[in-house]
């Protein structure tokens, strides 16, 4: 079986190489059949990789412990679902998963465009398959998923049972978090391939942007989902009560997300004004390379992280791929600059264009700061031969102001006029929202909130939320006045008319919710307490008392549960059972926290085990205000993105400003 799997991977590698050569040669020699056969190779690769993946998954499920991968990442006692997720639990399997997803995406792209973009498609196929070739080199020759365990004499041997999947990963969000992130990571190959294809063929216009808009949005949605699932997992599983730690691998997933977000915004500039063309190509390429870089960061061991896979030589392959890819892209962009000329110029600081510009500037700055902070030990090691790391406070001190500025732009950007705007019209649009914001934070300040960043954040959140609500209200009121019906129906109709615009507003509203959640961090309460059974303690408004320890065991782990009776302001709110587990196969302890989630605040209880003398329980208790708003915000963002993806009722043709000449020519034309 494992031989068939390994063979399938090897064949897929040959097909990928063939596909790259075939499509480029077919295009240059003008042989349509060669191009077609290169495209068919893409389907074959998918079939081959599906076979390989199927065999690996079968090995994991059936417990074929002759396979090194299965022995290292699965065991008999694990629930079936986690046996399946072991597919991406380790280095080799996750690379196969990457490759398989890429094959799936490539297949969809090739099928969708089988009659479109015939001049550009060979290059698109070639780019996709070059990336595929790279990953297939890794799994066919470097990190092989189908290695078998051998004794010193060379005989295959069956270990009988495996080491098991890391218990931290045995949690439901971990079932979907890696696939979501990978879908996001891998998906960005497609817009990149189209951008490069259009550069190579010197396409006029923005056809690559129109074709890939949906792709970008979908992959952005997957990335967002993946990142937030990761945050939710950290919060619910890791037991330290946070959702984000600026860990190198978290950062690696955030970097392409930031540039993707910048891209989603600056694309509008190109579509509507024909501006920022070079910039967009740069952004989409940066995003793609950051995706690869993220994969590299997770696997090379150059930085310390929770997520890091074992250190291996695999990093060098990534460095080569990145270097060659980036050099090629830079060369292409430089030689095609004349095709990427801007059709309009910036006219005023107070304009929609300018807000897009600053949005991009600040997003890129934040991306750079994250990258810099992540690679700081590497950089200092190279320059000063001393490894110096920067910690959470660095990231927070840079990213918090950036985030607040972005929030301001989120409110201002969508309402400010194109080309130029006046102070008067700004007053008209923003006076009420700003007053609302200031009013809310004044009330909070009076109530005793003294954290400046928190106050600014709440002001801006209210400001943005009110601008969005007013936009919806104004539009819906106009429809209601014309067509009758109630306000809600009018709002639905309004959204349906321009899904992109109103979906976008909804995404902004979701981000506002998330910011409210993030701001709650400023008011966290934490305590670590050692208590004897029955002893009371308290945190915030909560009074807590422990009960008697319960213990037990199953195939997978030994557990200790500590009942904690809780009451809030004197009223009982029930008993919580935080749990401490010791996974048997992995010999790894793990805490299962109990969280009482609420819209205003979460009570978070972690039983960290018994103290050294075994008499007292060590409990970490936290109160996290507003944390639920992050998850609420996610659902709003998701809904908004889905609305953006649905087609508008009336196909909108955007009034596009074309600059035909300088002012006096304009005047003559008008005469």
């Amino acid at each position: 079986m494992e031989n068939i799997g390994a063979l399938a991977i090897l064949l897929a590698f040959c097909f990928a190489v063939y596909s790259v050569i075939g499509s480029v040669a077919g295009k240059l020699a003008k042989r349509p059949f060669l191009i077609l056969s290169a495209e068919r190779a893409v389907y074959c690769i998918w079939a081959l990789l599906s076979t390989a993946a199927g065999i690996l998954v079968y090995g994991l499920m059936a417990g074929d412990f002759r396979l090194a991968y299965v022995a290292a990442h699965s065991n008999r006692a694990m629930p079936t679902i986690y046996k399946f997720t072991s597919w991406w639990g380790g280095q080799e399997g996750s690379l196969l998963f990457w490759s398989w997803l890429l094959a799936t995406y490539s297949m969809v792209v090739v099928y969708q465009n089988r009659r479109k973009f015939r001049d550009m498609m060979p290059y698109v196929t070639a780019i996709l398959m070059t990336t595929q070739t790279f990953f297939l080199i890794l799994i066919a020759f470097v990190a092989r998923p189908f290695n078998v365990l051998m004794t010193a004499t060379g005989a295959i041997y069956d270990r009988g049972d495996g080491a098991g999947l890391n218990p931290l990963l045995q949690y439901w969000t971990m079932v979907i978090h890696p696939p979501m992130l990978y879908l996001g990571y891998v998906g960005f190959v497609v817009p990149f391939a189209f951008a490069i294809g259009s550069l190579i063929t010197k396409q006029p216009g923005e056809s690559w942007i129109h074709t890939t808009r949906r792709w970008t949005l979908v992959t952005w949605m997957f990335q967002t989902t993946g990142i937030l699932l990761g945050a939710g997992w950290a919060y619910a599983v890791l037991g330290w009560g946070g959702y984000w730690k600026w860990d190198p691998v978290e950062n690696a997933s955030l970097l392409p997300w930031i540039t993707a977000t910048a891209f989603l915004h600056s694309v509008m500039m190109q579509e509507k004004k024909g501006m920022m063309k070079v910039w967009n190509v740069v952004l989409v390429s940066t995003t793609f390379f950051l995706c690869i870089f993220g994969t590299f960061l997770t696997r090379s061991g150059i930085v310390n992280s929770v997520h890091a896979f074992a250190q291996s030589s695999i990093g060098n392959y990534f460095v080569v791929f990145l270097a060659v890819g980036i050099a090629g892209t830079v060369y292409l962009i430089l030689t095609r600059l004349e095709f990427l000329k801007s059709e309009a110029q910036l006219e005023s600081v107070l304009s929609r264009e300018s807000s897009f510009l600053f949005n991009n500037l600040v997003l890129l700055a934040s991306c750079f700061a994250v990258l810099w902070g992540t690679l700081f030990p590497v950089i200092t090691d190279a320059i000063m031969h001393e490894k110096i790391s920067v910690d959470e406070p660095f990231f927070n001190s840079v990213e918090v102001p950036i985030a607040l500025f972005l929030m301001l732009l989120t409110g201002v950007g969508p309402l400010i006029a194109w080309r130029r705007s006046s102070i008067e019209s700004l007053k008209r649009s923003f006076l009420i929202p700003m007053l609302c914001g200031v009013a809310v934070s004044s009330v909070l300040a009076v109530l005793g909130v003294r954290n400046v960043y928190a106050l600014i954040s709440f002001t801006l959140c209210v400001f943005v939320a009110v601008t969005v609500v007013i936009e919806f209200y104004k539009g819906a009121a106009a429809i209601k006045a014309k067509d009758g019906g109630n306000l809600i129906m009018s709002m639905v109709a309004l959204t349906h008319r321009n899904t992109r615009r109103y979906g976008g507003y909804l995404v902004h509203l979701g981000v506002v919710c998330m910011f409210i959640g993030f701001t709650g961090k400023a008011f966290d309460k934490a305590a670590t307490i050692e208590v004897a059974p029955g002893e009371p303690f308290s945190i915030g408004n909560y009074q807590l008392r422990t009960g008697m320890l319960e213990t037990g065991q199953n195939d997978n782990y030994v557990w200790e549960k500590l009942p904690i009776m809780a009451s809030k302001n004197g009223d009982s709110i029930g008993t919580f059972m935080p749990e401490h587990r010791l996974y048997i196969a992995e010999k790894q302890p793990q805490s299962e926290v109990e969280i009482r989630r609420g819209v205003n605040e979460d009570l978070y209880l972690n039983f960290a085990g018994m103290s050294a003398d075994g008499q007292k329980a060590v409990i970490q208790a936290f109160v996290f205000p507003l944390v639920s708003w992050i998850w609420i915000g996610y659902w709003v963002v998701l809904a908004g993105t889905l609305i953006c993806l649905t087609p508008s009722k009336a196909r909108l043709i955007f009034a596009r400003t074309e600059i035909v000449g300088i002012a006096d020519k304009h005047a003559r034309v008008e005469e």
Binding site: A72, G90, A163, N166, L168, L169, V237, L238, G239, W240, G241, K245, G301, N304, S305, V306, H307, A308, F309, A310, Q311, L346, V349, S354, L357, F358, L361, V362, A365, A369, F376, P377, E386, K387, I388, S389, V390, D391, E392, P393, F394, F395, N396, S397, V398, P401, I402, F405, A526, T528, E530, K587, Q588, P589, S591, A608, G609, A612, V618, Q620
Partner: protein, 143 residues
């Protein structure tokens, strides 16, 4: 038109300048030097003014607990370092005799190391595991 570009230039410089200033401030505040015990000793007086992350192995039978304060000895290449930890977070379960540990903190004038954060990796674990962190406050294993 020229005027507009000036304005943009000034604004962009202002933004980038502020961010650089924030970044530099953040770096000076939080930078932590990775050191082994011999390297820490070699730093001399400078070690007392800088945050360091020292790596080493927990010496056998050296862990003593007194309420929240934990004392232990780290060793590396026959050099020893006495560490005092009194942080908020409970120590990771992987922290035990022989474990590879990372201590974040500062060297005190009496030669002991005052740690604010301890990370530990169990020495018996073999390398291929995907993640080796312990579900614990900020204890990110050094894999």
């Amino acid at each position: 038109m020229k005027n507009t570009y000036w304005k943009f230039g000034i604004l962009i410089t202002a933004i980038v300048g502020t961010l650089t200033w924030l970044a530099v401030g953040g770096i000076t505040q939080t930078k932590t030097y990775y050191k082994t015990i011999p390297e820490l000793n070699a730093m001399g007086d400078r070690a007392r003014d800088t945050n360091t992350r020292v790596s080493g192995y927990v010496a056998a039978n050296s862990i003593s607990r007194n309420g929240r304060v934990v004392k232990f000895t780290m060793t590396e290449e026959s050099k020893r370092l006495d560490v005092v930890y009194d942080g908020i977070d409970p120590l990771p379960d992987t922290f035990k005799d022989g474990a590879q540990a990372l201590a974040d903190g500062r060297l005190q004038s009496d030669g002991t190391f005052h740690a604010k954060k301890i990370q530990a990796k169990c020495a018996s674990k073999y390398e291929q595991k995907p993640t080796m962190a312990k579900p614990d406050p900020g204890s990110h294993a050094s894999t």
